[in-house]
Symmetry: C2
Subunit: 127 residues, 2 copies
DNA sequence: ATCATAAATTTCGATATCGAACAAAATGAG
DNA sequence: CTCATTTTGTTCGATATCGAAATTTATGAT
């Protein structure tokens, strides 16, 4: 938990000036790199509940950073995509984010990073 | 994050029947094993802000699981200690908790657990 | 003794976050 | 086709959680 807090803490701090929470950032980043996604898909991606996704996407929509559209062929599903301000924002913020993650992780050598990934993968999937 | 979620998720699930959140449990557990602590000390221990500790201790106090006393020699500080129902509850819940952590962690061998601890310690302290 | 500063806690305002209950839409069995 | 079931998302009620401002108490310098 301490390692996790330290890492996400630094990530969160760099998002503050842009008034983004970690979840909001994660949603923007997911769409930025994967293209428009369903709320369900976003939930799976950022490891949050569907109920929570409703709230987070609401807040992003209020800020005009994303747009919601119903699918024509399955009207239960919502397609979440970036607006141009949203695209501009994440395009500006993401590089700094990548730098920070990079910097935090350089506490460990390449080999150690690989080891850590392997161990956490085991622990995370339970296999 | 996935590893952290899986672990804390299982911990949280076992606390649900007793209406305890993870933070509430962490506070009870800390006092149970270390004796009465200050809210500041509790915050440092469970890695949460002082503001948050006020809320968590409030909820535990409402349930009569802990007691708050001001120190006589420094009335700014609050001493948080277990009531007898609190002691009974944590005494009952903790063993199950330990089992679950144990079970989750046995996905990794002893050696792997040591490795993981060492790597996370580095990452967590930034050294 | 007095006052500026520091420390511990609380309050405030804003989101996050979840589980459960609900609504709407799709699907599949007969 | 029709109804039960499943899927997707929303709403509701509760707590967590933080940073910043406020409050109370202690401390140290003069």
């Amino acid at each position: 938990m301490r390692a996790s807090n330290r890492t996400t803490g630094q990530i969160h701090r760099q998002l503050l000036p842009d008034n983004l929470t970690q979840s909001q950032f994660s949603v923007l980043e997911a769409i930025y790199h994967l293209g428009p996604l369903t709320q369900g898909e976003l939930g799976a991606k950022i490891l949050k509940s569907n109920a929570n996704l409703t709230t987070v996407v609401d807040s992003l929509e209020r800020k005009k950073l994303v747009r919601r559209d119903r699918f024509h062929d399955d009207r239960r599903r919502v397609r979440v995509s970036l607006t141009s301000p949203g695209k501009a924002l994440i395009g500006r913020v993401f590089p700094r984010h990548a730098e920070i993650v990079e910097r935090v992780m350089t506490v460990l050598s390449e080999a150690e990073q690989e080891q850590l990934m392997a161990l956490l993968k085991k622990l995370g999937t339970g296999t």
